[in-house]
Assembly symmetry: D2
Homo-oligomer: 137 residues x 4
């Protein structure tokens, strides 16, 4: 869980059987789980101990996910998953993310989260302290 | 979704890539998902339209799962998953379940559900109407 | 598994506990599994009984996935997942897909598959018969 | 990844959204994934860098899984998963496993793996070096 570049977060991940499919590689859907683990630990490193539910009656939901697959990860490999916040809207955060084997980029993604009310799913403005903190990254 | 034997429920399931692992077979953990789909549809066929949350503030949780694996299912196969209630306690239901390819039994399981309060996870007596209905199966 | 519009395929899906998350809604990653089930059954309806492995030493992999989330599906709901092939390249097929609750569109996606060699993951030209058949849809 | 007791292995695990369900707790099926991660890292710590496929044409499959659920883990918690080999047969290894929050035991399991041929799934005798090493634990 290191941050080699300012504002970039990196999480080591091991590939287990649960992550693979009959093609003998990581099931492409599961890279989205890796991405989320990295986003979650990134937010935790910024001081949010419940990253998905960052306030009373609030939750983050994914509103857009764009993922490009270049090369597969395989069982038992040690990979790294990065997260960087590249855009902030009134109610949204966009993360640019990668999955890396050493210096080789396997998967890239751009994931947009929207903050919504838990009850009705209505967009909610990011808390001021969060906006400030992320703006300063 | 037929019931060839009294009190037995059977659900057809197709094996998709999401269900498999790098061994080229269904990931053994996923049979528990198949079992749950069959239990859920069984309860739905008995009139429970929210089988996991069968009343205000109540939910079923799994308290014990014993599964025996004999032979694997594979990608693209059509299999059947059965469910039968074989025991009922004050707060529990035990299902005996199988995964079948034609007449071949691939997996068997005995799954015990406990009814608990959603807030604190305390055991709750099965509703009288449910006890009656299941006792009559 | 009906095809109301020419070239569009629709698969009914039930939401189970396995599909949900602590937000009380379908975990957004799992819509990609729903999409794949619909693509797979669509290809099966076109005569491919092993849709992911459509020939000796060949497999389809996902090369790009763009997904927009509008509104969540919930536990026990009956939804429909559609698939339509909207673009074909030398080695690729692009599907436009939706998740629908009645007439309400919950999720849309554009998923591009690439045909590759199983051993080395090199792009492989779509078989002529497949190109012909899909071109005629 | 410490071994406080001789022959016991312990792996720290963080609970992510992917692990939870609409009950707001870890989906019970997913503890089996946690168990497998701990078994895998345990075997890796013993020198097996491909724990699921420990030799040419061989793989381990789960033949029996018995799991008792006492109390649930929740989103964002840090838990530990232990593994200990408690029985060895000609072609099988049985692990006794737990999921712990601090000193509280949440889940216990007994998981039996069988070594089989990859092609036909026939039981295969554990390699002599493995038998020796595990017998000495």
């Amino acid at each position: 869980m290191t941050s080699p570049n300012p504002g970039e977060f990196s999480l080591p991940v091991r590939v287990y059987i649960e992550d693979t499919d009959a093609g003998g590689i990581v099931y492409y859907v599961n890279y989205l789980k890796y991405f989320e683990r990295a986003r979650t630990e990134y937010m935790r490193s910024l001081g949010y101990d419940k990253p998905a539910f960052p306030g009373e009656g609030l939750m983050f939901v994914v509103s857009q996910a764009n993922v490009s697959y270049r090369s597969p990860a395989r069982l038992d490999e040690s990979i790294r998953v990065t997260a960087r916040i590249t855009s902030m809207g009134a109610a949204t955060l966009t993360f640019t993310q990668t999955v890396l084997r050493d210096a080789t980029c396997l998967v890239t993604g751009e994931i947009t989260l929207a903050l919504v009310s838990r009850e009705q799913g209505r967009p909610r403005r990011l808390p001021a302290a969060m906006r400030q903190q992320i703006g300063d990254l």
